[in-house]
């Protein structure tokens, strides 16, 4: 198992290298640079002044040179300074990352806590009214864009209850209830898609497992239906669900970007979108790399967990 973990971890290095090169080049391929943004409106500047500004902002030099400067700093935890507000990118991310992680965690929690039982009930009561209701809900869940749902929830609560989540970020350490009241709507908005996926996945795998011989044997031996479903079938049915949940972290991170803007949460996604509009290269690069690392990291965790849950996988590898 240890060899398996080491091997999977080492495989991350070329992946991260590829991702970093991709991010660096994509940012450079965006039309226009920050000087164009800065020169909008009433500002006029000669080409010499623009060039001087580019040099001050570290935008001169060849791409390999710029890449090396960036990646060598990133390895040491120095992502450079934001081109727009000159603050260290690592400081900005340190402030915004916990917000996004909390949002993603809560969304994942909602998706699993609600999605798994719904999937189980749907499979155990196949073709019943509850099954149809769950399946219809799942279909709606995968079809509804999260930004639309977020807007709808916000307008609904403001119109009906005269309430919107607190506008200024409340740390859970200062006021846990206030924090939860702030995060519940955004977390719900981005969780719906994942919830639907989890529910459908659990239902499909449960149906498959419930048809297995050992389940039939257990029932024939007189084991209670509830015990068979939850003790025998669900444990095996959850293995592929773990994979899905791991992948869904990436989906939730991307969903968080728009929802953070709608709810005014100063998270990583919000920072990333602002940075793209402002052509703030160090911010875009660091934020995207961070999201990629989180995504890859969760995949690693899923792989390792899979090895634990199904020893055949690590043995084969």
């Amino acid at each position: 198992m240890l060899g398996y973990i080491v091997k999977r971890t080492l495989l991350l290095l070329p992946t991260l290298f590829g991702v970093s090169v991709g991010i660096f080049l994509m940012v450079r391929l965006l039309p226009g640079d920050i000087i164009d943004i800065l020169l909008g409106g009433d500002i006029t500047a000669s080409e010499e002044v623009k060039q001087e500004a580019r040099e001050q902002l570290g935008l001169t030099g060849s791409y390999p040179e710029q890449y090396w400067n960036w990646i060598s700093g990133a390895v040491r935890g120095d992502f450079g300074d934001s081109l727009r507000n000159a603050e260290p990118v690592s400081t900005i991310l340190r402030d915004s990352l916990p917000i996004t992680l909390e949002l993603v965690f809560l969304a994942l929690l909602i998706a699993v806590v609600v999605g798994v039982p719904l999937g189980v009930i749907s499979a155990a009561r196949r073709d019943s009214a509850r099954d149809y209701a769950s399946r219809l809900g799942g279909l709606i869940g995968v079809s509804v864009p999260n930004f639309w749902l977020a807007t709808l929830l916000l307008l609904f609560t403001s119109k009906v209850f005269g309430w919107v989540p607190p506008l200024t970020y409340i740390s859970p350490r200062d006021d846990l209830l206030g924090n939860l009241s702030q995060f519940i709507l955004p977390a719900l908005s981005i969780s719906v898609f994942t919830l639907a996926i989890v529910m459908r996945m659990v239902r499909a795998t449960m149906l498959e497992v419930l048809g297995q011989d050992y389940v039939r044997t257990a029932r024939a031996k007189g084991v209670a239906r509830r015990r068979v479903v939850y003790r025998h079938a669900l444990r095996n049915a959850l293995i592929p669900v773990v994979t899905v949940v791991g992948f869904e972290v990436g989906v939730l991170m991307s969903g968080a970007a728009i929802v953070e803007i709608i709810f005014g949460l100063p998270g990583v996604g919000n920072q990333l979108l602002q940075a793209i509009f402002n052509r703030d290269y160090p911010m875009i690069q660091a934020t995207t790399l961070l999201i990629a690392i989180i995504f890859i990291g969760f995949n690693l965790i899923v792989d390792v967990l899979y090895g634990f849950l199904d020893p055949r996988i690590s043995a084969e590898t």
């Binding site: 009433d42 500002i43 727009r84 807007t151 403001s158 200024t168 005014g264």
Partner: protein
């Protein structure tokens, strides 16, 4: 000229008794060598309270205002985004200020004297204190002018004072007198100071004391408590503010809410007290009896822009084709279809910008008149009766740009011009526009500190002239624009700029279209707010009070 709604009762920001209007003040300031212009003595300070007979203005309370965009930073110098200014404006002031009608009046300088056409002495108001308790002196003003020319990070290095005004140097003449030396006569100085976008006065050594991107020390009506990027800016009342009795509010919070629907929800649930909305949202919110809609013009106007470059020989290089395009555009239809009937015709200087723009009557009856037969005749005369195809590039957001482009496409089809619309992300659009990499652009202009900011680009001395239209020739325009900025006598200056505008509306290297209306919606408890022409939220600083 004002876009400010009628005062709602108490102590508005409009000029008080004895104040000079913009024109008078500049005329006086322009009297070279005429001795002191004791503007402060003439203008007096801003009114500190209600006039006799009016009910006292309630003081105290907090207003939470939604910002559509994050300030990114709140450094006083070198900030380029309008949202930078939204964030920092409550705490910073300059030597001169505009009132809600764009009249200049003394602020931190109680008076100034034009010593000769290259020298102006500003006498500072005594007893003004910064938020840290230090008294304002000429050394602070000099320090600030030095930083205006070389904005430290996080300010942008491309935003230099010399890019707007030909300031050569500054000198401390005494504890309260600052001398500004100009490279040459430059009438733009006063407007740029009054705009305050790039010219706040901060205490000497401020950049060594605080992180200017997130903190600040000014003399303004509010003292900064906290700025959290992408979240909020928090202010409290400046108890030592030099305008006695102001501000009326105890606290001001600006919450960053870029999503329009989120602002609507927050306003309806009383989580915010006001914000800016598009026309449709404002119309819907106006039906809520707890809310009121404010509207007014701003400096933002939309315009069609051409490139006229050597060797390209495009159809619109012929002035008659540009005139045909102008006469084929029905601006009222654009205003009705895109802006719900809210908007005005605009020349090269937007309506509402002091005494400088041409009148609506003149624009509508002569220069911007919709006249399809004339447009068709001009196309025939130019040998273009069969028309041509052209790509029109514009912004993808805000959405009105693409909508205006669509209406224009239909209108120009009538003179056989086939317009292919390409909507681009703002950064991409800005890059191509700055390089002159376009045929036609549907773009916009914004607020300027001085009228020269609207017309300087038609003079070959402007770098952008050679990027956009190096083949454009009109020596009269060049002379008027060139001489206008060095003419200190406003009485002479105004007709020069008006004549330049008339000539430009015949040459039409840029075709001004419409000036858009800005909507702000506030809760009924918020009084005396107004839509500022400058696109800033100036009313929040010293006018607004809450009741109920």
């Amino acid at each position: 000229m004002s876009d400010k709604p009628a005062p709602e009762g108490a102590a508005p920001e409009s000029p008080g008794k004895g104040e000079l209007n913009r024109r008078d003040l500049l005329v006086k300031a322009g009297q070279v060598g005429a001795g002191a212009v004791a503007a402060g003595a003439l203008a007096g300070s801003a009114k500190a309270g209600p006039s006799r007979g009016q009910a006292p203005v309630p003081t105290g309370g907090r207003v939470t205002w939604a910002l559509e965009q994050d300030p990114v930073h709140i450094a006083p110098f070198g900030a380029t985004l309008t949202s930078n200014h939204w964030g920092k404006a409550p705490m910073y002031e300059s030597l001169i200020e505009w009132d809600s009608q764009l009249n200049q009046r003394p602020a931190l300088a109680e008076s100034w004297k034009v010593v000769d056409k290259r020298t102006v002495d500003f006498t500072l108001r005594r007893g003004v204190r910064f938020h840290n308790g230090k008294e304002l002196t000429a050394a602070d003003a000099k320090y600030s002018f030095d930083l205006m020319e070389n904005p430290p990070v996080p300010g942008s290095p491309v935003v230099k004072l010399s890019g707007y005004v030909a300031v050569e140097s500054t000198e401390v003449r005494s504890r309260y007198v600052l001398r500004v030396k100009l490279k040459n006569s430059d009438a733009r100085l006063f407007g740029h100071l009054a705009w305050n976008r790039y010219t706040p006065i901060v205490p000497e050594g401020m950049y060594q004391q605080v992180n200017a991107g997130r903190q600040g020390i000014g003399t303004g009506p509010f003292r900064l408590l906290e700025y959290q990027p992408n979240s909020h800016v928090e202010y409290e009342r400046n108890q030592r503010y030099w305008k006695k009795g102001r501000p009326y509010l105890d606290a001001l919070t600006m919450k960053v809410l870029p999503d329009e629907q989120a602002r609507i929800a927050a306003l309806r649930s009383n989580a915010i007290d006001g914000g800016t909305f598009n026309a449709d949202s404002a119309s819907v919110l106006g039906r809520d009896r707890n809310l009121k809609v404010l509207k007014g013009g701003t400096a933002a106007f939309r315009e069609l822009q051409f490139t006229i470059k050597k060797g390209e020989n495009k159809p619109w290089h012929d002035k008659r084709v540009r005139q045909a395009v102008n006469f084929a555009i029905n601006r009222q239809e654009i205003i009705n279809k895109v802006y719900g009937g809210n908007g005005r015709y605009s020349g090269h200087v937007p309506p509402g910008y002091g005494p400088w723009p041409l009148s609506q009557d003149e624009l509508k009856s002569k220069y911007l008149k919709f006249d399809l037969p004339k447009a068709q005749a001009l196309m025939r005369a130019a040998g273009q009766s069969r028309g041509f195809s052209v790509t029109l590039t514009t912004f993808s957001t805000p959405l009105d740009f693409a909508q205006v482009a669509s209406v224009m496409k239909q209108q120009l089809k009538r003179i056989n011009i086939d317009v292919n619309i390409v909507a681009q992300e703002p950064g991409t659009f800005g890059s191509a526009n700055g390089r002159g990499a376009f045929d036609w652009d549907l773009t916009a202009r914004g607020m300027r500190g001085d009228v020269d900011g609207y017309l300087a680009e038609f003079n070959p001395s402007a770098a952008i002239f050679n990027v956009w239209y190096p083949e454009y020739r009109n020596v009269r325009v060049w002379r008027l624009v060139g001489n206008g900025k060095i003419q200190l006598d406003q009485a002479k200056r105004i007709p020069m700029y008006k004549e330049a505008q008339r000539l430009l509306l015949e040459d039409l290297v840029q075709v001004p279209l419409v000036a858009v209306t800005k909507f702000q919606v506030v809760r009924k408890r918020v009084n005396n707010m107004y839509v500022a022409f400058s696109d800033f939220n100036t009313g929040l600083h010293t006018s607004v009070y809450v009741k109920g």
